[in-house]
């Protein structure tokens, strides 16, 4: 009975805390401006099924894709076992599905054991890739500190988790030789041959509790980690744009302004209320840009193919996404603090509309970084979960040029030529001068 009470309390605490964190994150995402995806429902589901569920884009690199697939499938099928653990934990039963499912249950557990072993192999290879082989995309400067530790924690937790599963199962096999025919755990039983029934029972309990405590920990930890992608990959692919990639988001306010300047349409009345253009903070990114940031798994496939990054420039698309996430978390925490120090207008209550902490996206992302982008879309192409790192880069360029009237000095002559000559270069020759020696 005591076990059931402790279990139920831990269960409520972890799920309750996780729920609180998800509310925090969804509020942070909603700090972004309104945005509607251009995709049709069938395109949305197609992306969820093929890109998120089917992991299609992972397979541009087959080795990590297969290893990741082991962990992914093991994770999905272990949910069956977790449901059983939850029922057992609350009701005090033991392997409640066994009498119901009979030999099918043995099949499932055996299948989960095989997947767990494959996941364990994947985990060891991943640890080696990060820490021994030192694959370049895992050595970038933006991964120093917490991101590298985060990756390490989760891989070690995976090893602990799988170890507890095998401890629990093999002790159970040793206790119930006839009915529990778990093949892989069966191989471990000779190791337990000297233990008496009480010790085996204790081992089974340690395995069972160890397993579920790692799971409860994971539920809480998830929202602080890049492992949030196990949920957000599905949401993010659902909302991903399917418009032509080369189409940069229009700015209707400026379009209308220019139309009235050119006499194409009537001037609107509220032109004196023009907002800030572009983005310098989460408040003027779209909510999808922030969702992108929370979805990022920090795999670095974007940065690996970025031509600016590979030639030693400071720009790293992954860092841009990580910085946006950190900023969203920071703003979220400060808003929750209720501290008047963060009020823009001290006479009004703190809110997302009345917030200023003297920081912005530019506090983390330098102009040098956003200036290095060639808009080649390699990062967009590379992302396995359809994150678009290019969009916030363009929005930050817009903020610099349109709101701050700054930007690279080299672009001033370009802008002048475009404005005065309607051409990218200022040349005295006429546009059609090249035809002179053709038409004769």
């Amino acid at each position: 009975m005591l076990e059931q009470i402790i279990f139920s309390i831990l269960c409520i605490l972890s799920f309750g805390f996780a729920a609180k964190r998800f509310l925090f994150i969804s509020r942070n995402i909603s700090l972004g401006v309104d945005w509607t995806p251009d995709s049709t429902p069938s395109e949305k589901w197609k992306n969820v099924i093929f890109i998120a569920f089917g992991q299609k884009k992972m397979f541009t690199k087959w080795l990590p894709a297969i290893l990741h697939l082991f962990i992914y499938i093991a994770f999905i099928f272990t949910q069956i076992e977790l449901i059983e653990i939850l029922i057992d934990g609350i009701t005090g039963s033991h392997r409640v599905f066994l009498p119901i499912l009979g030999s099918f249950y043995l099949l499932i557990i055996n299948f989960i054991e095989v997947l767990s072993l494959l996941a364990l192999i994947g985990t060891f290879v991943f640890l080696a890739r990060r820490n021994l082989l030192k694959i370049p995309r895992f050595q970038s400067v933006e991964l120093k500190g917490w991101p590298a530790l985060d990756a390490l924690i989760i891989l070690l937790a995976e090893i602990v988790l799988v170890s507890f599963i095998f401890m629990m199962n093999s002790a159970d096999v040793a206790l119930h030789q006839e009915s529990y025919q778990f093949i892989l755990s069966g191989f471990l039983v000779p190791l337990l041959k000297d233990f008496d029934t009480n010790t085996l029972h204790l081992l089974e309990r340690v395995g069972w509790w160890g397993h579920i405590i790692v799971v409860f920990g994971f539920i809480v930890y998830l929202s602080y980690s890049k492992h949030l992608h196990i949920i957000f990959a599905f949401i993010n692919t659902y909302y991903a744009n399917t418009k032509p990639r080369g189409k940069i988001e229009n700015m209707p306010a400026i379009m209308e302004e220019v139309k009235s300047l050119l006499g194409i349409s009537e001037a609107s009345n509220d032109t004196n209320q023009l907002p800030d253009f572009g983005s310098n903070d989460v408040f003027n990114l779209s909510w999808k840009n922030i969702l992108d940031a929370y979805t990022c798994t920090e795999c670095g496939r974007c940065t690996e193919v970025c031509p600016a990054n590979m030639t030693g420039k400071k720009l790293s698309p992954r860092k841009v996404m990580m910085d946006i996430r950190d900023r969203a978390d920071e703003v979220g925490k400060k808003l929750d603090s209720g501290d008047v120090a963060f009020c823009q207008d001290k006479n009004m209550p703190l809110s997302s509309a009345n917030f200023s902490d003297g920081l912005s996206l530019f506090s983390q992302i330098s102009p040098e970084e956003i200036h290095a982008c060639t808009t080649c879309n390699a990062c967009v192409e590379a992302c396995p979960v359809l994150i678009n790192p290019l969009e916030p880069i363009i929005k930050m360029r817009r903020y610099e040029i349109l709101t701050l009237s700054s930007g690279p000095a080299d672009w001033v002559p370009l802008f002048n030529s475009l404005e005065n000559n309607q051409a990218a270069w200022s040349l005295s020759a006429e546009r059609s001068a090249w035809t002179a020696d053709m038409n004769d």
Partner: protein, 260 residues
Amino acid sequence: MSIQVPVYSTLYNQGISPEILFWVGCAGSFDARAQRVTKAFCTILNKIDVSFAILGEEEKCTGDPARRAGNEFLFQMLALQNIQTLNHYGIKKIVTACPHCFNTLKNEYPELGGNYEVIHHTSFLNGLIADGKLKLQGGGSFIGKKITYHDSCYLGRINGIYEAPREILEALDADLVELKRCKSNGLCCGAGGAQMWKEDEPGSGRINQARATEIISSGADIVAANCPFCITMLQDGLTADSNEKNIMVLDLSELIVQQL
């Protein structure tokens, strides 16, 4: 041979509406190297008797570099004026030799009120070859030499056109060797996003030189390209990198013109 390059307004005043508008672009109009591509393409159009015209002085930059630099105001100024001109003439079909112009005209103008059928000259020429309208005579200085193809970002990864240029190379009987990074994995030349008009940010190297190194290691003698900016960037990169073989970067139309 006299090559005719009619101007749209002249034909329009005569009551003639050409089948296609050839959008020359800033590079194609002003850059000496890109002008050679423009002329090669016009030579092909004359040869096969396609009715076409250029906007001439009425053409303005599409606004691609302005928009990508973040100067949306300037982009809108240019784009909306172009759309006024294009709509005034009732233009339906545009062909351009620049993938940046192609992308902006095709993907960004519709939302501003400009709806046209926009074709990159690579696809256009490939269509003519496939339909038998453009007959290749064989030969050309590139025969017997190894040719590699550089996917520009704006034609390849951004607009998904990978096969048309390769089909042209096949029709030309060219000996194609692929670069290590090609198609959706193609490496940028370094010019896009208005980088063409600014110095590189501090780093350990230049993007065009990284691409030139890949080209040299492919063993190719000629690089086929489809973008005036790529042509400039790659040729510069190859020149800076000793380039003992004197590797030439040529537009697909410059290869085709050799087999007319």
